[in-house]
Amino acid sequence: MSRSSYLKPDTVALHAGYVPESDHGSRAVPIYQTTSYVFESVSEGSSLFNVEQGGHIYSRITNPTVAVLEQRIAALEGGSGAICTASGMSALFTIFITLCSAGDHIISATQIYGSTATLLKHTIKRLGIECSFVSVNDEQALRDAIQPNTKMVFCESIGNPGLEISDIPGISTIAHEAGIPVVVDATFATPCLCRPFEHGADIVVHSVTKWMGGHGVAIGGVIVDGGQFDWEQSGRFPELTEPYAPFHGIRFWEEFGPSALAMKMRAESMRDVGAAMSPHNAFLILQGIETLNLRMKQHVANARALLEWLQQQEAVTWTNYPDMESNPSHALAATLFPDGAGSMLCFGVTGGRAGGAAFIDSLQLASNLANVGDARTLVLHPASTTHSRLTGEDMKAAGISEDMIRVSVGIEDISDIKADFGRGFKAAERVAGAA
């Protein structure tokens, strides 16, 4: 049970946000491939524009198919509302600019996705928003980083690609003492494995392109408002508590309370920035979510089996998976991810950078590409791709080494994955031997 629904998660994944529509009785969620919606009257149009009633005006702001996905993900996470966006990165940009203005400050974990690091370090800096990168599990470092203008603490529930587990309860306690919300990118876990709101987080972001969709055919993102953060008491967010001029001076917190943030993002970011998800992509992501729980069980089972096998291979120099016993995050992972800490794992291969390249180039089943969370097994060399824009020092802080192979373990038969990797290790060993 989540905080948004009294149905069980498997049922929510199939049903939340939609009941068969009255006109045709379509059992599947229809794709409302339309830009706009006819008003019954001038009066109704006026009411919709003035938030006197709910409904759809223009698909940049809301769309019925996208709304089903938003309500389904909000129900899975236990949030008060959700806003879907064109991509995971646009979801992050949306939450950053909704809560921050020029002169504000963000605290971010160091172990985060490379493009997110670039967004925080370079792009939003041009808008006058500064970011401090800290090891967010270091309580003192986190406390020391808080400034009067800090507007959020940002972390990933499982860091990409270092796989560091963020101590969401500990981070939330410190942030909340200072009246600061915690934003968690929970892409690697999905709500099947961890619901950050239950551990103190205030806002959850996903790239739904990944495990949520699972099929690797649609790009999308989502921001979920947990509804628990008291924006008034914080005193740091006049954007939510003071009159908002473009909407007749509406005060989002007074008017909407637990859904104030979601309503603000809808009214401002979707209207002004317009990073909207297409209804067709929403439909595709919905197809994936229907089987999310089944897939995540198999992802985790395969990841654990592959890890165990990797640890026995001579060509493997080290392994990393968040809830393996030797990992410093093991106890935390067991608490936050009782059903498994996802299906991402990393390892080092003999032969260093050249060995890693030989390993990847010889694979037949696993795909070498810049994505994770596909139902198929995916591999990548982060140092030369996703995190190549980072300096050596930043790469080290992000938990990346030259020999690192990142694996997004798929749901194929595990024996076929092992056979494929075995082929790769022979190639790596040849390179290492030649050296």
Partner: protein, 265 residues
């Protein structure tokens, strides 16, 4: 906006426009554990269409200070003080669930302040299961879960929302869990004046009931409507939380009654 009632800072939503007591005033009274946000999809329409709106948070609820009131009788008296504190001579009073019991008490104690009354998802008495009261005593969140599981109709249980992308159950739970739900439920369950008050009501009255209401079933609402000589509407498909679940239909019935009385229908 904030006013002072009984020496306490009291919040009332005004529908997004500054309160203007010279306009016909519509007052919305929330149900147990809830607040002014129950009425988000009714108050703005009235405020932007020729009325002034007052949707207070009762003492100790959400944005209003003070201790929770412990009887419906006192809530009725408080509403009378609240109306006078805002310089209003008469209101159209609308109450959801327990909020309508408050309106009935207002009618008994200060009938001169009323132009019409409307009850939504309600009856003349609302017995409360002792197990629910006990749960609320220990945990408002647990009691909120019980109430919301029963209170929202089938569509809302399947995550349907009148506002795209939102989840009404989570919003209701967050509000109820932070408010004095136990005090409200005790007061609600103890109130037995409904039938007596019904005999004295001499302003237009209507009840808007929900076919799938499991907290105040249609049968109880219809029986009270006869005592009250009220016009009655039953909205199909939805549950007890009509202002949130079926905001358009609810607003339409409010517009019809109040508009006819103010000649703006």
């Amino acid at each position: 906006m904030y006013t002072e009632v009984r020496g306490q800072k009291t919040y009332a939503a005004t529908g997004g426009k500054a309160f203007d007591g010279s306009l016909p005033t519509v007052m919305f009274v929330h149900g147990s554990g809830l607040d002014h946000r129950s009425w988000a999809l009714q108050t703005r329409w009235f405020a932007y269409n020729g009325y002034s709106v007052l949707a207070p948070d009762l003492p100790g609820h959400s944005l209003s200070a003070g201790e929770a009131l412990t009887s419906i009788e006192d809530m009725g008296a408080w509403l009378a003080e609240f109306i006078r504190a805002n310089g209003v001579s008469k209101v159209h009073a609308i109450g959801h669930s327990q909020g309508f019991l408050d309106v009935l008490e207002l009618a008994r104690q200060a009938p001169e302040l009323l132009k019409s009354i409307t009850g939504i998802g309600t009856a003349g008495a609302i017995p409360v299961n002792p197990a629910l009261i006990e749960a609320a005593k220990n945990s408002a969140a647990d009691a909120a879960d019980m109430l919301l599981m029963w209170g929202f109709g089938p569509d809302a249980q399947y995550g349907i929302s009148a506002v795209p992308g939102m989840q009404p159950i989570a919003i209701g739970r967050q509000i109820m869990a932070s408010n004095p739900l136990h005090a409200d439920l005790v007061a609600c369950g103890e109130y037995l004046n409904g039938s007596e008050v019904a005999k004295t009501i001499d302003v237009p009255a209507q009840l808007i009931l929900a076919r799938k209401d499991r907290l105040t079933p249609v049968k109880a609402g219809m029986a009270f409507a006869r005592e009250l000589n009220a016009s009655t509407t039953i909205i199909e498909r939805y549950g007890h939380m009509l202002p949130i679940e079926a905001p358009r239909q609810t607003l339409q019935k409010l517009r019809e009654l109040i508009g006819s009385l103010e000649n703006t229908a």
